[in-house]
Symmetry: D2
Subunit: 385 residues, 4 copies
């Protein structure tokens, strides 16, 4: 098949944030094409947004339901191949459900749904549909995250004993949602964001990253979450003790009131033989630590990287790759999987390396466990997934 993979976008019209990120991620490699969208629930706004991307008005729909119906009715050589969902959280489930049941593959922003129940239902829908479902836990797209995973799974660190994962931000240190900041508004509203604020928005990224790299599962946790900013309904900070299924212990903390922090996701992992450290704000560096030899600085696009890390880089070492390239790696793999579905060929192993509905269910189970544990004064709570 010699054409670009085609997608339609749900959400992401003018004034949105993450929609623009998805579009860039889709654009980068020249393999994917935006052909339609339901960019807004306001039909005119949807058309106006679509015009920004040079779409014709008849492919800019006023609702995701309309988009799915009308695209399904188009000839196969015009119709979109998958939908990309970039709305606030509460729309993730209905949009994904409609798309999957309408015969389209889905690539959704995280968290997968508004709550765990929906996530489990969605998992069944995905399975029944036979369609592909991807979730943009984009931080797993970084080359050095893949290198870290390989170093754990190949046993270089020995049995994992300790994990420290952090995600501090500072942008919600004051009540900016009250002043009309759109991103803050829906994220602090339980109806659109879900049971957790900070923990749902960024805590799940931390949880996903820890499980992705270590290959372990968090079995139980004890959480203390807080709303520091007066009048805010959802948590803006959370501290969590972790226990993993292999006996490892850990700490996860996420915050949106850590003044002066930008987007400082980072993780440290210690095994019996070695340790790793990775920091998202300088993502092309991975430190490997040992007790009896110098710490090593692994770098994106170096010749000594594992196959998965090498495949996730685009340019030579020292030419920094960033957030958008990592995000694009999710899109690239997902689109390659879509392509192999269309072609009826088997995807290669790298292509399968993108987050799926199982990650979504884990994330929602994590959120629910954190909220429940904290409500019970940090009682140990198992993840129901």
């Amino acid at each position: 098949m010699s054409r670009k993979i085609r997608y339609g976008m749900i959400g992401g019209g003018r004034g949105a944030f993450i929609g623009g990120v998805h579009r860039i991620a889709a654009n980068i490699d020249g393999q994917i094409e935006l052909v339609c969208g339901a960019f807004s629930s306001d039909p005119q706004r949807s058309k106006d947004s679509g015009a920004d991307f040079f779409l014709s008005a008849d492919r800019c729909y006023g609702s995701f339901e309309e988009m799915i119906t009308k695209e399904a009715a188009l000839p196969a050589d015009q119709r979109m191949d998958f939908v990309s969902i970039v709305t606030p959280n509460h729309v993730h489930f209905p949009a994904a459900k409609a798309a999957l049941e309408g015969g389209f593959h889905v690539l959704s922003d995280k968290p997968a749904t508004l709550n765990l129940e929906e996530a489990k239902a969605l998992a069944e829908i995905v399975e029944k549909s036979g369609k592909l479902y991807g979730l943009t836990h984009n931080y797993t797209g970084y080359p050095m995250v893949k290198q870290a995973r390989e170093m754990v799974s190949s046993g270089q660190l020995g049995k994992i004993r300790k994990v420290v994962v952090e995600y501090p931000q500072g942008w919600l240190a004051t009540r900016i949602e009250a002043s009309g900041q759109k991103q803050a508004e829906w994220r602090t509203d339980p109806k659109r964001s879900g049971a957790a604020g900070c923990i749902g928005d960024i805590g799940t990224h931390a949880e996903n990253l820890a499980e992705y790299i270590t290959g372990l599962k968090i079995s139980e946790l004890a959480a203390d979450i807080t709303s520091f900013v007066e009048g805010r309904q959802l948590d803006d900070d959370g501290n969590v003790l972790l226990r993993f299924d292999n006996g490892a212990k850990g700490i996860l903390h996420a915050s949106q009131i850590s003044v002066g922090e930008e987007n400082n996701l980072n993780i440290r992992i210690y095994g019996e033989k070695g340790g790793l450290e990775w920091r998202q704000q300088e993502p092309n560096t991975l430190l490997a630590k040992w007790n009896d030899q110098p710490t090593q600085i692994y770098r994106t696009a170096s010749g000594y990287l594992c196959q998965a890390a090498a495949a996730a880089g685009r340019i030579p070492g020292g030419h920094p790759e960033g957030y958008l390239e990592a995000f694009a790696n999710i899109y690239r793999n997902f689109a390659a999987h879509v392509r192999s579905e269309i072609d009826g060929t088997a995807p290669d192993a790298n292509v399968l390396d993108y987050p799926k509905i199982e990650d979504g269910v884990r994330g929602m189970a994590f959120i629910e466990a954190v909220v429940q544990s904290s409500a019970e004064n940090a009682a140990w709570t198992k993840l129901n997934a």
Copy 2:
């Protein structure tokens, strides 16, 4: 005008490096479309390469001359708007000349030409053609480089006294050109690379960066360049003393035999009141230094940045932007300028912020001065531009 800007690529077929970078840079913002190419001087290879980008065979040409002639003959609503030149250096001049004289805007990889004489000739051709000419000195596309320039031009540092600019790499520490490494092969061949190796390939980036940020001109220099690797015809390392037109002094050194260095372009600038430091490998950080207060860490996408730096970022702070985004900023501005030419509107000031033929002439004058100075045992040599 509501369509993407269309371009054709000269060079950049299978096996090339910088062509892929240009294509990603063009893709990122969804404003530019690759519509044709002369990807190789072998017509079949050109078509094969074009197929990788989903181009139809009839828009994949066997030479740039053919591409320019045939595209010029296409209806206006199909024809490419500009050409992107990504060949080895010796093709830059003839390709640019042909495109400009054929009525197309040109965005060329650097250095502009094979030598200073060609560069000066090209400047005249550009002027006569009335077409736009851009040069991908891509490092000036970084937001923090623009912030640095603004901090100098607004006088925050006081009069500039000293500039230290470095560009060490290590990849040519051994004679890899003898083993068939394509990138090394042409860069070490005077016929395709020009009078200088390392100084032409990366020294010019350093020169351009220093002049871009400071707004000063290098007036004269004393250079000591070396071919460390036996059998290599061109320099692989160069050390240069600089004198600027305002009396500032400086140092520029570039190297491709600095083992273990990736792409470590960096610059420090000191004025009477403050200093700046920027390092390309961690490009989202700019240090501002003062004698009587703490050093400040300026960061991409922060609220306190100048307008040009703000415009050059795409995503919130802490989401690292890298080399490809900086490169895309050159494409974005150039394409916006092309769009305003088509629309007959005045471009805004930001749009004009991309390197032009004047930068190309400066770069070639720099190369010639370095080579001449070094041949005369580091005699002070003025830049002839």
Copy 3:
């Protein structure tokens, strides 16, 4: 009074570690003189050790009791002014008690005692004795730690909301105590180390640092401590949720099995208006973070520092001061306080800035709370001090 302050050392003979650190700390400023010691419970070993420091054999005692008795009997112009206690933990209390009751000031290594009960008893003894008692929580001796404290207490950060304090080490990742490593041996032995291993040895430093800088008290905690290395009797890793008396939340974790970590004590503090970050391994840098302006890099010995931080530096900025200088700051202040006691003058405020028995009681209360909480599966536990 124009002479050096004189001290005798308890512990710290050949093969010991921390004794040597104390001696250097005492030496640095030329204000303090080692005049005697009970370096070992083996009298000959004590004399041999003393000879290394050029002490005459008659001032090298076979027990701290002997030292205290015999020194007390010396003429005032020869007798030691204070004792320095550098033994394993179980000797701290009896040695301090004997010295205080024998009329000598005491500067003790931490933790203050073997358990909380002893610590409270010691507090009474100190008070009754009228003698000075200092505790070498040496990390509070760093200039940038003092700067951090000042920035909190002066309100620059606003009300404190979150504290993250870490102390990872890796040296006990394997069971080196079984192979005769002396430092590991006593630290992993409950009889000599106390109820906690890692938490007692380094966790207390983290606790002390957090309370010193913030001026807050930990009110309750939930702890999960672990012995990862088989056969080890005491914890070698601990993760703790914190709640402070002003409503702030926090995390403290300490580890001696974090492979590849050296002595990576670090702290981050976030208030309503600003944040701070300090890392012991690069102790001359303090980051101050803000949401609306660039992060600032405060540096040791800069002109803009607060008075306490300025007084704690010895040399101009950029001449790195380290662990020994910070340790020496405790000695210097303590000795100056001793000197003012001898002279009958009032010490100035800086001089009083060294850890005292109250810090020791807090530390022991912290250890006991951690151990108890962990035994109750991380139940919230109040500090009994």
Copy 4:
């Protein structure tokens, strides 16, 4: 011999800077004792200064001549063993000459003398005297500098090709010497400082560091030095191209007008196989760089260090050692050498690792070559030593 080594100090009275550093360096290890001094040419000021160090007035002399004469007349068991010279540069030579000819070993601050002629004369005096002469090029005292030297000499980097050594400071960016700043005053006065300012004060440290680590000699140089601050008689900035005796090329630049820089001495060295990077402001880290494997972070006090680096550390890894400890390493080795002279034993190899008169002659030859080259518009100039 079981006693401390005794020294007298020339210079370093109240208000001086480097004298205090020398005294701390001498104190740290408890092996050396200050017994007398000619702290000032004003006898009362000398006595007042001595009282600060608890010296009796009769050992505080009004001139170095008096000190040398009177100390020589003391009984052997009281007399100083060596002198430490910490005056402005113009006194270095006469004081060292007098001490050596008076029968005392000498440890002098750098540069060795006021000019090259004096340095060569001093070399002869040292040789004739049979006494030891040490020079406090203190930066060679850092453990990681010694590790770097070992990695070069053992061939791990291959043949050295390129050296970049920098020493930027910012404290003389304005004319503070005119406002009575004592340290600035004499350093900018040719009569007391010599033919060069910045190049003499700190450029020589850079030169010494480069030659120490590489084991190479600078054979010729081309220099461009500048007095940026109006009214200043000596250079406050210098840029120098280097050629080494093995064919390596290099760059040295030193500056005291680089606003915001503290004391940022740093060096990078590239051989055919590997590279090294060391920065004085974070002195416990040494980067080793390779083209085909991750960069390694060597750290002070790690188990894998060479013998010389290990011997130069005092405390475990992660407990940062700084400027004063490095300085103390020069004192410790020199004092150990003095001790072996007194005892008539052979010093071990480590002990001999301190800078000597040969380093002093090299430094003065470097200064003279820089000044001469710059006067001839950066003509290549050979070092006359």
